[in-house]
Amino acid sequence: MREFKIAEPRTVDEVAALLTEATETTALIAGGTDLIDELKSGVSTAGLVVDLRGVPGLAGIAAEKGGLRIGAMTRIADLAGDAAVGRDYAVLKEAALSLATPQLRNVGTVGGNLCQRPRCWYYRDPEVICRRKGGFNCFAYQGRNKYHCIFGGNGCFIVYPSDLAPALISLGATAMIATAKGDKTIPLEAFYAGPDVDVTRENVLAKGQFLKSVWVPAPKAGQKSTYVKLEERGTWDFALVSAAVAGVVKGGALADISIVMGGVAPVPWRLKKAEDVLKGKAVTEAVVRQAADAALADASPLRENGYKTDLVFAALKNALTAIAA
């Protein structure tokens, strides 16, 4: 581990100022469950680590405008245990409980989960300088890629590992970003950006900006939601493919549907084409197949991850069956 300075700001403004004025590379630390590993292994370096744990007002879940405001510093365990989340947003609770382990959920935060770096095993190898780390090659493209993306790869083939991001986007969440000029709000879906935008980053945060909170709108009347996570083992695993689905079933047909997948693309992957196929239809195996095929028209599997196309169907079927039941 290289040496770094640590700053312990006491206000949001101080955080923004530190980030804006820093001449060295900065990193924000929230729960620290991943950042510390990254710094120790040398995968990333930081001259200045800004600790958010002393900044008041960044943690907590509160009702706001009919929906819920979730602070970036809210612990995953608190999100999973929140009564309003459990009542109105099953997909979010299920996603929170599916991730990592109880120990990590007790320390890890919502903001940390939404801003985490990729788990690509080439990116995580300190000896490898891949495109995401400023190098010239993606080693996964022609290398070992059973966990890599089938959608949206472009010079880099990571998958975005967050479980919360697909869940929140399926619910239509927005992100509040603190900037030097005050807060701004954008759809969480627009918070993420693929390698075609900037291959070294996974989101649109500019220098001096950080994620302050997310807001989830009130559930639509009759809205049901669920998170299906397909993993290799029973716990402590990243999704091979996951499906966050929120929708309204009226008269046996899907009146409204939103589908976001994890584990398939460098960003949480919205299945717009599948949604279009499903709208107004009853959930049957044939319809799910049709929807999956529509989505998979955009898929470009690599040498070792073709099985993920089967998992897209399986995850979609499980999730849609659950909300249509």
Binding site: Y122, G234, A314
Partner: protein, 760 residues
Amino acid sequence: MNSKEYRAETMIDREDQARPAKAAAAGQAAKPAEPAPEAKPSDYRYIGKLTSRVDGREVVTGRAKYTHDVKLLGMLIGKILRSPRAAAEVVSVDLAPALALPGVMAAIKLAEGKVRYAGEQVAAVAAVDERTAEKALGLIKVEYKSLPFVVDWEKARDASAPQVRDGKPNVEPINKYNRGDVEKGFAEADVVVEKIYRTGFEIHHPTETHGSVATWDGGHLIVVDSTQNVHGVRDGLARALKVPASNITVIKTYMGGGFGSKLGLNEYTVVAANLAKQTGRPVKILLSRRDNAMCVGYRPSSLQTYKVGAKKDGTLTALKLTNTASGGIGAGDDVAEPLVDIYKCPNCKADEQTVYTNTCASRATRAPGHTQGAFGLEGVMDELAAALDLDPLELRRKNYSIKNRGDTGIPYSSKALDQCYDLGAKAIGWERRNRKPGEGTADGPRRRGLGVATSIWFGAGVPGTLADIVLYPDLSVEVICGTQDIGTGTRTHMAVVAAETLGLEPRDIAVKEGNSDYPWAPLSGGSQTTPSVAPAVRDAGLKAVERLKAVAAARLKIDAGDVVMADRKFSSKADPSKSVPFADVYRDLRRETVFHGERAGMPSDFAYNTFGAHFAEVEVNVETGRIRVLRYVAAHDSGQIINRLTAESQVLGGITQGLSAGLFEERVMDDATGNPVNPNLRDYKIATSLDIPEIVPVFADLVDPRINNLGTKGLGEPPRIPSSAAIANAVYNAIGVHVREIPMTPKRVLEALKRKEAAS
């Protein structure tokens, strides 16, 4: 230590290990045979019963000290710089910048000429703390000249592939076996089945990574090492350092697992000893998790092609195997032993080769060869059963052997495999299996199935193992043996046997082990620790009792033959009113307190093996490819069980490993960088508690009449051997297609289902 050296050390060979000629070749003079067990299992108070670990409290309260916990006055931290390249010429190593860093006390060059795998050691430093040592490694300047390399064994077979060893081909034969005439056997068969099975690279990954602490006390070297072999490490160090073995003491404290990866001397231990010598201070070297994944071995892969022939009624007529193993710069494992031995068949042929690659050498991994072999052999037995429309268990019973080498060799001294089949089948509810693979009731995308697999293994123990019992004048009792408890419960076994024999309780016994200065015992591998150590302790105990009885007889003025020992008293059988407490007799022993026990030999005209039958019930989701193991029953024949509690733990551990390797574990190598992409526990996935089902251990409890004075056999490896295979066979029973490759990840299950679809 590769599998050949392992076999030599463990006296496990393709020839019968009890033959005097073989024993002599392994450095052991032929021993007189052990006396048969004199007590019946029902006579025992502790042996075969449940006894809590004597060291359990220390371990669960965190007070037990492991090698990682060792802190000595003035101790330095040693770190090793490792090659990032899979093949290179080390042109130069400049240690000066590292040595200039304050706090660095020594730096040494380790590599000369070529490095042949990523992770091979190049240089080392000793510094006042870990950070300084880490920093110093970064300052060492190494100039490499890259050489062509190959890490994928399938590519290494090509004539055009880079040569891994200078002047030697990458492909080399490792085993040939033949009996009878397989071609004649195939001609006689009604059904012939030919299938290919693969097993991948499984890393031991003990919870406690490898490490040593070396200290010189004048000319005497003391090494604390996390090892399965204190005597072997001592002898290895003596050779490597050119120091008399008498000037070296190797100590194993508590240990967090080894599974075969800690069987002999390691390079880093020599480095620690050299750095300690140079600096005059203790040096501790601990390997990282990444080092553990790259430098200290793994189970070699296998590609096994089986061709088997049988009559309509299931009678086997021919068994044929060709296998290609790969163990990096090591020699891989031959996997034919289960095929050669277990099922009655006159015609059997095996032909095996290994492929060298630029990865570190494989090492013995819990049941080297057998675990891979059982996966292939037991898989093809099930596919043969389906082709014959027979119950897989009936097919196994039909070809039951009572002599080794497929019923063509010498008789097994004891074999309760038939009981294991019965006990296991009953406990799992074998009648609930699908009569034909894949033809069960579907619950949506979920299919259930049951599978069975058999194991045969060694586990006779090593003649010549020594143990002492010391009776102190203050009435305390000690049992000493230079074995090592590697987490399996050896300390408790020693206490149980000593207590049983001396009429005391296990907690009355102080146990000393894990030190090369203590009486000789073999390495802890090959399922030989308990059947080596327990009989030696028993022998020492019996000698102590004999002596105590003589002393008691003198005190009581009765005949020694009239003395009985019970309830901490010696009394006269004829006149129970005549008795003397233990305490008084012990005190009389003042000048003769040490009793030497030795494990004797075995009659050479028998084969000594352990057996087991595993039964798994699984649920497979045919859409997601996920396998869940629902229930598991393991029935074992390991002779007299010494402590049922630790025996059950051993079984649970073996199945957990087999499930983990069967479903998740796989080292993945990158062709371009020559490095593994998952040298960590995030991407190298090991089963968690949520993946483990209810496991029911069952023991056949057949006491071997001639193996040793307790009738006990080993249990170290057996629970691991058939566990991946039983799960794979259950998956086959569930979905109607055998995945034929471990780990059975969702990817491979889905691919197998596509294979089935394409075939139909």
